[in-house]
């Protein structure tokens, strides 16, 4: 078996929901030993769907199964004194703790960062929260919609005469999970160099705000407040999703699609694509400012042709002409996509109850240390093994179970 990049890391994961579990999924997929501590009732995401046939079942949540691959599950109520004792035994053998409670709640249980740092000076303590551990909004709460709103990205998304629009798929938690993953590895690199653990403080709202491409910059460098305009970039049109004969296609002429000013060239790729070389004489083909402002006239030149050609043919032809057009697949399209199939992207896993699902596979391929793919754990499946390692025998576990600690 090949080695994994983080196979020497041990992580205790108290987080629930999406952001923390996505962070620790990455750690686990990279090879870390992640012990997922769930309250006896299970991670909240076990109660969120989708479920097969829409029948809720704690072992069949699609969200949970997606986000908890390769982890071990131990049930433990850390709101009890006995739970804290056990947690500390696990932390004594861990490099990293990940938690996603609102600021202050961990302190209430006696396991806040300041309370643990003396006993566990080498521990990387990562907290993923709505707004972070400091600042005037630290006790406010966020979800993906709130994070999108505060990022400036939503203000620039949608139709000009309608309300701003949030991006689908609840993206904020994934941005935060990635930021936490990078933060933890940075703190580990710091520890390797200087020794010592530390607190890593990641917030949902900042994780999405950091994704701003140039809304803040346009104000700070031009005084311009950018507003939504059909989700278009300020430096070109067409660069948008447009209707084709059989669906939608992303039209992106790129740097070379229209006649390049000052350069000598033959027919432009856009004219070739649209099968009308006369278009290169049209003033709209010659400056981006004109295309941006007179986009409806440009649409008149483009949309009829798109409407009579299927998406795949449009994209393939455009790509042959070196224009970065793209498809607009649904989940169903992705599962059948020939490119992803050839790259073996999806990984089939079997879950309790015989549920077989194809999961999104490794987000990147490492030649020496391929990421791992293993299923998510059932609730408490590793209680005996993990707690046994820190000295609890079967009899102890029985007592703890009776008292609702595990």
């Amino acid at each position: 078996m090949t080695d994994a990049a983080l196979s020497d890391l041990r992580v205790v994961d108290l987080s629930q929901g999406v952001a923390g579990p996505y962070c620790t999924k990455l750690l686990a997929d990279y090879g870390a030993k992640v012990i997922k501590i769930e309250p006896p009732g299970g991670d909240v995401s076990r109660r969120l769907g989708p479920f097969p046939q829409d029948l809720p079942h704690p072992e069949k949540s699609g969200l949970f199964l997606h986000l908890n691959t390769n982890k071990k599950s131990v049930t433990l109520d850390v709101a009890t004194a006995s739970g804290v004792v056990i947690l500390k035994k696990l932390l004594a053998r861990a490099d990293v703790l990940v938690e996603s409670c609102p600021p202050g709640r961990m302190d209430g249980w006696g396991i806040g960062y300041e309370q643990l740092r003396e006993g566990f000076p080498q521990l990387i303590y990562a907290s993923i929260t709505s707004f972070g551990q400091t600042g005037p909004y630290r006790d406010y709460r966020a979800n993906s919609l709130v994070s999108m709103a505060m990022s400036s990205i939503m203000y620039a998304t949608g139709e000009p005469d309608r309300e701003p629009l949030a991006t689908g798929c609840e993206p904020a938690d994934f941005f935060a999970g990635l930021q936490a993953f990078v933060g933890i590895l940075a703190a580990l690199a710091y520890r390797q160099r200087n020794g010592g653990g530390q607190h890593v403080d990641v917030s949902l709202v900042e994780s999405v705000a950091a994704a701003d491409e140039y809304n803040a910059a346009m104000y700070a460098y031009q005084g311009a407040i950018r507003r939504r305009y059909y989700s278009r970039h300020v430096f070109g049109y067409p660069m948008d999703i447009l209707p084709s004969q059989d669906g939608y296609v992303v039209v992106i002429p790129g740097a070379q699609g229209f006649p390049v000013p000052l350069a000598e060239q033959g027919a432009s790729p856009m004219a070739l694509l649209l099968e009308d070389l006369e278009l290169d004489q049209n003033p709209l083909f010659h400056t981006f400012q004109e295309r941006w402002v007179r986009w409806r006239e440009l649409d008149d030149l483009i949309l009829p042709w798109l409407a009579t050609h299927p998406s795949r043919q449009i994209v393939e032809t455009a790509q042959e002409l070196r224009m970065p057009f793209a498809l607009v697949p649904t989940a169903a399209d992705l599962l059948e996509d020939e490119h992803l199939a050839e790259r073996d992207f999806f990984v089939e896993m079997e879950h309790p109850g015989g549920v077989k699902l194809r999961h999104p596979g490794a987000p990147l391929r490492m030649s020496e240390t391929p990421l791992r793919s293993g299923p998510a754990p059932t609730l408490g499946q590793d209680n005996e093994a993990v707690l046994g390692e820190v000295g609890y025998n079967l009899e102890d576990l029985g007592i703890l179970r009776d008292r609702g600690v595990i």
Binding site: L63, G158, T167, A180, Q192, H199, E206, A220, A331, R343
Partner: protein
């Protein structure tokens, strides 16, 4: 000054625009020495995107805010990798570096004869990260890709849009920063592995695949129930009411998300409408889903009288998730972001003191990831890098410059008889954004000439 986690790590960065530069920007914030390599014949295209003060007069390629915010903290050199001499110098730099990042389609590195197998001969433990749009293998591997196409390509756009409307892109290259952070994590993991084993490796990151974790729920639901994600506007499949509501003011909006009965009761109290709590149409979460349209009318009747920031504080203090929809200016001025140093101020030799955002938002108690220097001018560090690291003489540098292999001005492929000077006015017009017209059309909300005062950019130095 505290040591940073990546002090002593050197990164050669061939990536352009946003995704790759986000990755290397994070590595720079963590202390790595990032050397960005461009060619005079092929600049990072973001050097022509969005000129400071919309003014293209002087060194336009050094004036764009786009390049400035995503490349602060890096050094910059020019090398023409299509020329044998340029490739030779690049190959001599490789042994001095730990990480090589590039974001071309695979055919480009092949044409440069800089594929991993070649690179590792020069530096056996190098970590090479290739982050093209569709990865190094498979039928789409040579498809060129912009971020604005990769968000739809990863499936996200099909699930984004107004209810009943077509798929909509986010108003930016949304997956670029996502895959950029993902890439930075991969480099950190590979560096840790190298520290443990002495081994480098090659990383193939397909940006399409990297973003697809967001599709988990949609992929599962389709496999479990044959259902495809609906476009729901700003609504949610569980919270109700949830939406974006117009406030007092010209284009001010507030998002609200009410997840359960307790929050609903708190919302009705906070807005001064206890009667809504008793309204049977909204009695429980199912009823609120069912009568969402009617509820939206009532809620917007309230929000229209509210200031978006004040309503945000009012609702959050009552325990209801809400937020003002911030524009770029408000993002810069928000007190929470300011207190947590969302932006650092740097002095740029051409455009003066400006804020640059941090790309890594994680905060640490033992070190502070930040950048102190502005993005590099084109070829700014040619001498420093090529003399300092490779020991080239002044004469050698001069001859490389004369041959166009290095330099600090772009080389334009001009028709015979035309010079750069003759075209200055044409170029000047070419890269201006039609801000006045955009304002008329509604794509720009305002242009404020006093923005430097509003942001305090002319005040004495000392933090953001």
């Amino acid at each position: 000054m505290a040591e940073l986690p990546l002090d002593g790590v050197r990164v050669l960065d061939l990536s352009h625009v946003f995704a790759g530069p986000t990755c290397t920007r994070i590595l720079a914030e963590l202390g790595a020495d990032v050397i960005k390599v461009e060619a005079r014949q092929r600049l990072d295209i973001s050097r022509i995107l969005i000129m400071t003060d919309n003014d293209t007069a002087d060194q336009p390629w050094n004036r764009t805010c786009y390049f400035a915010v995503h490349n602060a903290g890096k050094r910059g050199i020019t090398l023409d990798l299509t020329a044998e001499q340029g490739r030779g110098l690049f190959s001599r730099l490789i042994p001095h570096c730990d990480v090589l990042v590039e974001s071309f389609t695979p055919r480009v590195m092949k044409a440069f004869e800089l594929e991993y197998e070649t690179v590792r001969q020069l530096k056996p433990d190098i970590i090479m990260l290739s982050m093209s749009g569709y990865g190094q293998t498979g039928p789409y591997r040579d498809w060129s890709a912009y971020g604005m196409g990769l968000e739809p390509a990863s499936g996200i756009s099909a699930a984004t849009g107004y209810r009943g409307g077509p798929p909509i892109r986010t108003g930016m290259s949304f997956t670029d920063p996502l895959t950029g952070v993902l890439a930075a994590g991969a480099v950190l993991a590979a560096l840790r592995y190298r520290q443990r084993t002495g081994r480098g490796q090659f990383i193939d990151l397909s940006q399409q695949e990297g973003a697809m974790a967001l599709m988990g729920t949609a992929l599962m639901d389709y496999q479990m129930n044959g259902r495809l994600a609906e476009r729901m506007g700003n609504r949610s499949s569980w919270a109700a009411p949830q939406g974006c509501y117009r406030c007092r003011g010209d284009d001010d909006w507030l998002v609200i998300s009410v997840e359960n009965d307790e929050e609903w009761a708190a919302f009705c109290r906070a807005t001064g409408h206890p009667e809504w709590a008793g309204d049977e149409r909204f009695a429980d979460v199912l009823a609120r889903h069912e009568n969402h349209d009617a509820l939206d009318v009532l809620i917007e009747g309230w929000t229209r009288e509210q200031d978006h920031y004040e309503a945000f504080h009012l609702l959050q203090r009552a325990g209801v998730k809400a937020a003002p929809v911030l524009n770029g200016k408000e993002l810069l001025l928000d007190p929470h972001f300011r207190e947590r140093h969302r932006f650092d101020l740097v002095d740029h030799p051409v455009v003066g003191r400006r804020p640059v955002p941090r790309h890594l938002v994680a905060r640490f108690d033992r070190f502070e990831p930040r950048v102190d220097v502005a993005a590099p001018l084109l070829g700014q560090h040619n001498r420093e890098v090529l003399q300092g690291m490779l020991g080239l003489s002044d004469e050698e540098l001069a001859s490389l410059e004369a041959e166009g292999v290095i330099g600090s001005e772009p080389v334009l492929d001009l028709p015979e008889g035309l010079t750069f000077e003759m075209l200055r006015d044409v170029i000047r017009e070419l890269f201006r954004i039609p801000l006045e017209k955009m304002q008329e059309m509604g794509a720009v909300q305002a242009v404020e000439p006093d923005y430097r005062q509003q942001l305090g950019l002319d005040e004495p130095a000392g933090g953001s």
